[in-house]
């Protein structure tokens, strides 16, 4: 056993020391694999970024209430009385100022994107005083909160970055009026950071909505309180609403686009991976044929075919691993945190998010590289081991 191991070690040593002689080909294979991993990680990080934005929006003990039959706030509508009844439902947490429930309005306005100058549907949300407490880590990072009752707005950090005319001091045009931007807020990386907020009563009058809302967000006493909360609302004869856990609500919004991007990204990565496997096979076959004589000599001296196979495999795995690391690093440097906006089909409005190159994605990329290396090395390794010794020795 020990003998076998020392054979493996020494043969691997031979093959690794011979890499510099084949550096052109080795670098080509290595960079090829790096390219595949970079593309794969890059594309999948888009899906990860969208999913993370949605996840950070949702509190485990939060609930969203919409009119029954509507899947999104845009389609929903709740009367002022309904909103009040919902806000007093059992299961909602309380603080000094009352229950943690926030009836809200949701409309979109057109603002030009910074990147293209073309209009995007930017969400404009009318909120009441409890709204910030229901978002994760809401805080004003620049300027101040708007004055209740005034035509002032605050803007999410994502929105101010992606769309023009949302800096403090500028103002947005709503109907005949100009609403000044007085503050910038963050909300733990969630969807709210893509939005513009204004006092709900201001929005109600501007949009002639009377005393109506579109949704109620509520913080429950505990995640387990949700069932009671929901049953209570749905059985109330005065209401025609549906209640969802916030986590489910946001997961549903990102599901389609997440699956689409992940599916496409995987498809592209697999096809590219095939290309890289062909490249790796080429490199390793060339490596094996360049070392035909050396390998045959080793075999003639009494080395087993096992160590030969392992040495070829470990060379290709080493190249693949380095390629994978380079590709993953490239993707991380180039994409991680890159912020952009896309259209959330469910709310028909813009959502800003950052590409998310996380650890599991990097790991996936490196594992994928190793698979490429394994397949790319296996066949050449077997060929090397199968060469008839006498014949190979004669070859130049």
């Amino acid at each position: 056993m020990f003998n076998w191991f020392s054979q493996v070690i020494s043969v691997i040593g031979f093959s690794i020391r011979s890499i510099p002689q084949r550096k052109g080909s080795s670098i080509a294979a290595l960079l090829g694999i790096a390219g595949v991993v970079a593309v794969m990680v890059g594309v999948l990080s888009i899906a990860q970024g969208i999913a993370r934005t949605m996840e950070s929006s949702a509190g485990g003990d939060n609930a969203v209430v919409l009119r029954s039959g509507s899947d999104t706030e845009m389609m929903s509508g709740l009367g002022g009385d309904e909103a009040r009844i919902i806000g007093e439902a059992p299961g909602i947490a309380r603080d000094d100022s009352g229950t943690l429930a926030s009836p809200e309005l949701f409309v979109i306005i057109n603002l030009p994107m910074r990147t293209t100058g073309t209009d995007a549907n930017v969400p404009l949300r009318g909120v009441l005083s409890q709204a910030p407490k229901i978002r994760n880590d809401f805080k004003i990072v620049d300027g101040r909160m708007f004055e209740w009752g005034l035509n002032e707005v605050i803007v999410g950090s994502g929105a101010t970055e992606q769309f023009t005319g949302l800096e403090i001091g500028s103002s947005i045009e709503v109907g005949q009026e100009q609403w000044p931007v007085v503050g910038i807020f963050e909300a733990g990386g969630g969807v709210a950071e893509s939005e513009i907020w204004v006092d709900a009563s201001v929005l109600q009058s501007a949009y002639r909505r009377g005393n109506s809302y579109q949704s109620v967000y509520a913080k429950l006493t505990a995640p387990a309180a949700f069932d009671e909360f929901r049953d209570n609302l749905t059985s109330d004869p005065r209401l025609n609403v549906k209640a969802m856990r916030e986590t489910d609500y946001y997961a549903a919004q990102s599901e389609m686009v997440y699956n689409l991007i992940t599916g496409l990204g995987t498809l592209i990565a697999v096809i590219m991976g095939l290309g890289a496997i062909f490249g790796a096979l080429n490199t390793m076959y060339t490596a094996v044929s360049a070392r035909t004589r050396e390998i045959a000599t080793l075999r003639a001296l009494g080395f087993h075919s096992g160590p030969v196979i392992i040495s070829v495999l470990s060379e290709s795995l080493l190249l693949a691993c380095m390629g994978g690391l380079i590709g993953a690093a490239l993707a991380w440097l180039a994409f991680d945190g890159f912020r952009t906006a896309t259209l959330n089909w469910s709310s028909f409005s813009a959502i800003t998010f950052s590409f998310d190159v996380n650890f599991s994605l990097l790991l996936q990329g490196i594992v994928f590289a190793l698979v490429i290396g394994l397949v790319g090395g296996l066949f050449p390794a077997v060929r090397a081991a199968r060469q008839p010794v006498a014949h190979a020795l004669r070859e130049l």
Binding site: A29, I108, M113, V174, I271, L274, Y285
Partner: protein, 383 residues
């Protein structure tokens, strides 16, 4: 031509290596074709947009409605030929992931405004005779296997009915085709009069107007005139060319073109490395042979062309197979099972692919080819 045999014979030298290289080139061009189709799915709308059409919508956002009474006022604006309205219905067929666009329209105006939607006279007549009638694009009908006469229930998410119900039922009386390859046949149209009398609220309000101008060159002025007409009214408008409107919408989804370009660059970078590496080996191994060719009278440039020719042969075979495969894959349907309005490889991209084949061949082959050109016969033969 007489050198072709020489070139192809050289490729047979290391069949395995040639095969693997060709396969990696196949992969590159397969991706190229497929990604082109995806890009086209987002870009086609802009390309087929009528140069003589404007979209007029509410200034604040597309979800705000405009009075139907605007139609006659728009038509009175100088330079306007015709105006037709549409409204976003936003209903769900069976389940949310079966997304497609549904819009109430005035049938005669639809066909006047969009001559690229082709419907037989017979089916047009049937639509005019059926209040609850609807027509679907060919692509949409095929996606769900609809036939003429089918009753199609759609659950409204916005527009509840006067009777309080939310399920609208439409009779499929026509299936329209696209006059051009890029025409969107994933839409569903039904009659505005039926819509207006059935909806519970919003009577007399429509989503946006499509306006045809008599002189496309004056489109910008007409757009400005329309917006001026409604300035300072409760519903101000924003008018822009149809192409710009669609482009703006596509931009909201993201810079698809840029993302796809980036992926393709990475793909071709990878493939160039593989193919370039193969060509380098081919030349290195054959230093002696190339020197002999020179010795018997091949010029330096002749040898250069020969190596480039090999590179081209390699890429051409791989590229042609790759483009062919992508065409096959694309014709099997889009990856979202029908949500994309169109899915095909535009002719332009096929030509671009051919250009790329030549470019790839050149870049992969040029360095080895220059080495071959510079080869000194006397030195090379001594080796």
């Amino acid at each position: 031509m007489k050198y072709l045999y020489l070139i192809f014979s050289s490729l047979k030298r290391k069949k395995l290596r040639t095969g693997l290289t060709i396969l990696s080139i196949v992969v590159a061009f397969l991706l190229f074709g497929y990604l082109s189709a995806i890009r086209q799915a987002f870009a086609a709308g802009v390309e087929v947009a009528g140069a003589d059409r404007l979209i007029v919508r509410h200034k604040v956002s597309i979800i705000q409605l405009l009075p139907q009474s605007y139609e006659s006022r728009i038509e009175q604006v100088e330079g306007v030929d015709n105006a037709a309205h549409s409204t976003w219905f936003g209903g769900i067929y069976q389940e949310p992931r079966n997304f497609f666009a549904q819009m109430p329209v005035v049938p005669e105006e639809l066909f006047d405004m969009y001559p690229e939607y082709v419907l037989s006279d017979e089916q047009k007549k049937a639509w005019l005779a059926t209040r609850s009638g609807a027509i679907a694009g060919r692509g949409l009908a095929e996606r769900f296997g609809w036939k003429l006469g089918d009753r199609i229930p759609i659950n409204a998410t916005i527009w509840s009915k006067k009777d309080g119900g939310r399920t609208w039922e439409f009779d499929l009386v026509g299936i329209y085709d696209g006059a051009e390859k890029g025409t969107d046949t994933s839409q569903f149209f039904f009659r505005y009069d039926f819509f207006d009398e059935t909806r519970a609220f919003g009577e007399g309000l429509v989503g946006w107007y499509t306006v045809r101008v008599s002189d496309p060159d004056a489109a910008a002025e007409v757009a400005a005139a329309i917006d001026a007409e409604f300035a300072n009214s409760p519903s101000e408008t924003k008018s822009e060319p149809e192409g710009a409107f669609i482009q703006g919408f596509a931009n909201q989804i993201g810079n698809i073109g840029f993302i796809i370009m980036s992926i393709m660059s990475a793909v071709f970078f990878t493939i160039l490395l593989v193919a370039g590496n193969t060509m380098a080996y081919t030349v290195r191994e054959r230093t002696g042979e190339l020197a002999v060719l020179k010795a018997i009278g091949f010029t330096d440039r002749g040898v250069l062309s020969l190596v480039l020719g090999e590179s081209l042969a390699l890429t051409l075979v791989g590229g042609a197979i790759g483009l062919g495969l992508s065409w096959l894959l694309v014709s099997m349907g889009d990856p979202t099972q029908g949500s994309l309005p169109v899915f095909y490889i535009p002719t332009r991209d096929i030509f671009l692919g051919l250009l790329l084949i030549a470019a790839t061949a050149f870049v992969a082959g040029i360095i080895p080819a220059l080495q071959a050109q510079k080869l000194q016969i006397a030195d090379a033969l001594r080796r």
